[in-house]
Symmetry: D2
């Protein structure tokens, strides 16, 4: 309601009480002003009611919600199910237009505004909360998940240098990453195995092999180098800074899979360093793994992000962006910072608790603060599914078989799942402490793992 309404209200409510009502409304109004001027995540999260009120009002700006309208186009944001319409607050037009998936949609000023606002808040989160100090001005938020964004990144790199066909890839055993590189049948994936660090007995990026490959293939033939930060132990985050320097020297695009790396200061440090000293063309983050929203979105930045935005054909779902916006407003800066510091301490807690279990050994890896690998006499291939049957999800077992898996016609990997051909241990169990993990969950995991181990 506006000032005029409040004048009219004085015939319904006593001035004294109305004044206080105006105060309450102005406070809400002030929060919106603050959001629009500062374009940052609010310090304290908004209430769900406040957020719904905000979204509902914005949805009035989309043409499908105009009063007294006549639509004679082929797509008009019509929604035949009321239940569906309600869960989207009438925001049915999606985002983007032919030219650009992050472009303003003429029929949907409201949705377009929400997308822009989300981008501002995500930029704030990445720069000021997660700590990407060297963040470029533009981040692109896409309603497709990490793998698909990586694939779009590969296509964008092809646009940059259409004739280059070799992709140098520091091995990480995750199928969607491989598929993002092999979707284009003309690309050749050159696998660089991890090497065991003599100092720390962890898996690390094989810099010399990468350099060797560049020389061998000719840097003009290198389509891109693909590295990964967030990863299962005992693999470490790749050495992004060192490779970025090489990329800069040889003019090679560098694509970084940072799916859930933002929650870890070590990964953030690697990205920052690379942005400072070398060349980084694209960094891809998962929204669900970073911001605890439903699966379906990603945040990308770097020079190739703009290209991805441009080559994205047509419009796309607003849903994952809306989820992200709501989450950032509801959690607030304080909430997000708490989630990060909780993760850090819980990660330590998980390690300590596991080290307290006598039957197992935790592999040391100072570079990977998210995932742990544990070995032990009774850590066998079946323990993962036994844990799953006991409602412990996410604990995965790797067992060395020395078999070669043909992931794609062009990609064959020995000991798939172990991230290298000669794994550090024959069998190990991975457990992670990701953002959102609670102490109660860790305790439950330790208890049920202990229970299984003691059966023997």
């Amino acid at each position: 309601m506006n000032g005029e309404h409040f004048k009219l209200l004085s015939e319904f409510v006593s001035p004294t009480y109305l004044n206080q009502a105006v105060g309450s409304r102005n406070s809400a109004s002030g929060k919106i002003t603050e959001l629009l001027t500062q374009r940052r995540i609010p310090q304290t999260g908004w209430s769900a009611d406040m957020i719904e009120m905000f979204i509902r009002e914005v949805s009035l700006w989309d043409s499908n919600n105009f009063p007294s309208k006549g639509c004679v186009g082929e797509r008009e944001g019509r929604c035949v199910s009321d239940l569906v319409r309600r869960r989207h607050w009438g925001l049915t037009h999606g985002i983007g237009r032919s030219g650009d998936v992050n472009a303003e949609q003429p029929k949907a000023a409201g949705s377009s505004f929400l997308l822009n606002l989300t981008k501002c808040l995500v930029h704030d989160a990445l720069k000021n909360i997660f700590g990407i100090s060297q963040l470029p001005r533009e981040v692109v938020v896409l309603p497709i998940a990490t793998g698909m964004s990586l694939m779009m990144g590969m296509t964008a790199a092809s646009q940059l240098n259409p004739t280059r066909k070799h992709v140098i890839w520091s091995r990480i055993d995750q199928k969607s990453c491989i598929k993002s590189m092999t979707a284009d049948p003309s690309l050749i994936v050159d696998v660089v195995e991890q090497v065991v660090s003599t100092q720390s007995n962890t898996l690390e990026t094989d810099l010399s092999s990468i350099n060797q490959l560049i020389t061998q293939l000719g840097h003009d033939n290198i389509h891109s180098i693909v590295l990964t930060t967030s990863t299962f132990a005992p693999r470490s985050p790749d050495n992004i800074p060192a490779v970025s320097v090489v990329c800069k020297e040889y003019n090679i695009p560098l694509i970084v899979n940072n799916a859930y790396g933002l929650q870890c200061t070590k990964c953030v440090h690697l990205i920052n360093e690379a942005l400072r000293v070398g060349r980084v063309d694209l960094v891809v983050q998962s929204t669900d793994k970073t911001f605890l929203v439903p699966v379906g979105g990603s945040v990308i930045f770097g020079p190739l992000a703009g290209t991805v935005n441009k080559i994205y054909p047509g419009r796309a779902s607003l849903g994952p962006i809306l989820d992200l916006l709501i989450t950032l407003l509801e959690v607030g800066r304080d909430g997000l910072e708490n989630l990060l510091s909780d993760r850090k301490s819980n990660s330590e807690y998980l390690k300590q608790q596991l080290e307290g279990v006598s039957e197992i050994t935790v592999l040391k890896n100072n570079k990977n603060s998210i995932s742990l690998a544990i070995t032990g006499e009774h850590i066998t291939s079946s323990i993962g599914s036994q844990l799953f049957l006991r409602n412990i999800s996410g604990a995965r077992v790797f067992t060395r078989t020395d078999k070669i898996s043909q992931i794609d016609l062009r990609v064959a990997l020995k000991n798939f799942g172990g991230h290298q051909d000669k794994p550090l241990a024959d069998t190990y169990l991975n457990a992670a402490c990701a953002i959102g993990t609670t102490r109660e969950e860790i305790d439950l995991f330790i208890k049920r793992l202990g229970g299984l181990l003691q059966k023997h």
Copy 2:
């Protein structure tokens, strides 16, 4: 509640009343049985309450909603915002896994089931309601919109014949279609302009030019032929059957952009004929334009659909699939059939009403029953925006300029927006009667258009 509960309830409620309660509950239960056994859209739509109850129950099967659970993975469907979680009924895990975007997700039996169910209902809709009688057994439902699905289709065709680079394209002036072909920088787009039919004075597929191009380029070099059904008048749907026969003869993949063609029996007939007599590799439908859900999904079928499914890297949003499922359950077979028959009669009504406006002429086109083109002295370039300012959306004006637009480095088109280099009229206005358009909207459009024309 189950039978055991109803026994216990007899101490709370009198047997007589309880019996009737059981009857009501069995009726709801029977609807679910019918859905699971028949795998078809219910004849009469379900109530929103019934649908919510169903989804809520299914969501219990996803691991993030398990009781007493411990999650030690890096992605566990966590949702920090309660508002976000509620709007997804806790279905946060998304769909797919590394291997296949339509594959079962181990952590999300509920979401996986909903995806499978949706595919069954969509298959039923396409075959038995929209009338694609020759529909292949598998349809793929993707949480990406039409343009992105077309792009994935192009990549899938590349996987089929990696060395073929020429795409023969029957021109349609829609940027996302062009972008879906040009994302891969190695593809060359060969534009085939529409020709004016001597019989009917409409724009039609230039079959002889297509044949000529195949000969000229060599059929072994043709990556694919891309045609479109649903289109703005005066362009007609492409002659899919004739081209499909050529594709069959020369072993060339045929990709059909059928974005909103299902609602039109003429387009459906073209697809059916082509499936019967020729080769059709992929047909792409928009979910928002076909099923009146928010933007963000598409339905694809044909041999390449399986490839798209396989090369899709990683997981994806469940949102657009859920919207589609809810809509099909809520609308029911009766509702969907009514929408289709209403569209047909409203389409006639729009034509009649426009023909009743003295200042304008409706261009005849028997092949395009969705879009109309009208000309007239006062139909000028500004009338589209004037209508938009009066809350009439979707009415677009084309004006001939004879300029060439460079849509992409590789694609330059004269008179962009008119679907051919020599348009049938210098200026015309398009209006469509798509599924969901009401008579009230048509009346409003006619009234406001009439108002603008009478100003002169």
Copy 3:
């Protein structure tokens, strides 16, 4: 959002699209202005979204929703369940204060406003839609149902004349009506049986007995006369005008149970006539039977309404008032008028359809347009429950037994359920066509009744 916000928005959205957004928002804003200035039910109903947005904004004015608040009282509108809070949009303070249940609640300016607004809209509905042309300026809306409001009306009448103890009651066989009179053990209920009209063979108010009782008991001893409009056939609405004249002459309070009478123009006419020519102290309407809201509220008017308001001890639930407000806003004047005219024609339809069933006879009663009584060879006592088992609710059978029912120590009635000691028929079935009844329901009733009758 306010004007200032829209200025800030220009950096997020293009001016052209923003203008249209402002237009859409102003349209919504204009509806609120219209509501606040006209204080009438909107001609066209508001959308559910618009209503929710409105309520949510108003809820910010209640102290429990103030930002940065400290509550150190014993009742502060706290709500520990988020689910409960959401279903009330945070409006938890209820209505009223010690002095007056319809008085402004200092801690709840928002709830107080909504109550006042509801009263305005209800006044509008009663006067301008239902047609109570002589409506007093004040109506009171209470979150208690009809029976409880009648009981409060009896107490209010006692306050008027504390020493009068005789209640003259024109018999209607409804327990809650009797209980409202007998709650106070000092009151004596003098039953006046209905008489059979010689002209029309219907049951009518026995005016001469009422006059005789007044004389016999002494008008100074008459606490009140209680009449009823809406009633099961063959009973007719009481002759309110004639009795109101008597009440005026003898200075006796007249209380009218008009539970669902507003939907019937005959009942409305009786009330209007009485207001014009006689004395009417209180008219009580049910909100659920009149406005199709959940059970729990009533609307009262007449001089005693103010007294009821004053003697109501303490605060009360806002819920039923909120339901009523939402309903009036959502249905709109057009919707309410349609409901009324549909009822009228459906009532005729029900009668015709019943008259078409050969096995039964419909008792004629021109004064009662809501309820019908039907007799017939196979209309037996069991047919009501047989219909209920077939999901036909509301059809009730009366069977003459000539037994006396002791409803209360002070009230004994012969042939309870038939509204008089000598019923017009030995067995009959009642069916009603109340507001909201659809033709489909009538058809179903006729079909299932027919099915049962044909079994014999």
Copy 4:
């Protein structure tokens, strides 16, 4: 879904994942079994989703939600607003029937069940959580607030002894309490002022005056004695046990206003003692002040509760009962116990914090653990409204004027607001620590109070 459905599901979902789904569903199902067999508040609260699923399923049992139904009655639970229907999950029939407001409603088996279930859970809460160890078997839950329930209690007492007219009332300055006694104009309220305890300098029940009044008026003329537990300091809870013994001896009904007393173990102890040693006819609790639900309900017990139930005329709103049920399920036993123990410690905290403010004195009162009274040079009449303007609600100031307030024709009180004619202090401020009050609120109150005091 039932077992049959799960068999059918095996064609949609892999057996392994389905098994786990069944496990999750059985867990939910087990919670319902536990609830129905134990009839106690669940130890751990249910999730909002679980509660909604439960209510939604139960709502199917009400006749208005039956499939294929025909309603030909005058009230059929119709709901014309979808928004209203949704917020009640289709539970529109209300509770009760003519005979009894807590009786089973034939058309609403679901609503009737929910009412019965609520009564079981409330009984559990009162007995096992709040500690009313002597609780009678039946508690009545009413959708009317405390004042109205007290009024019904007075009427019930009148039914017990229709000729008794004197109400002995231990003064508490709360209008709705007085109104509940004066609604019946034939009752005479005999005010018993509080006396100052010589030991503790607090206000206490004047037992000797009560005894004297009984003798003076004649115990056969005493309609009832009305006492109060929960009260503003410096008034103490009344001496319920001592008076209950007198009531037992003289056969006088005792009515106890225990609005928000359950949260305080001292008040609970008084009730328990009285139930053990004396006569207690009715104890009335507010649901909003006790269970943190929106205003509108009360819980009553004692012999007169059944009478209230019986004289309640007709049906009533289910809303307040539903709010209570949801709250008890959502909060769980653990949550409710935490709220109680938090209140206890926060109450101490408030006292300590206030004692730390140098400008004020906290009046000692060991019997009242909810409310505090503070005095001080700058505690003046305006400080209450100044605090309210600073969003501190619930802090009320009493100032001695020695004026007499005519609350009702029959009740005149000197120094109204101070609970006695000769207050313990000329001016004091009340602050309470009721259930739900947080430490943050106390801190805010102390800070803003301190700020105001320091202005001087």
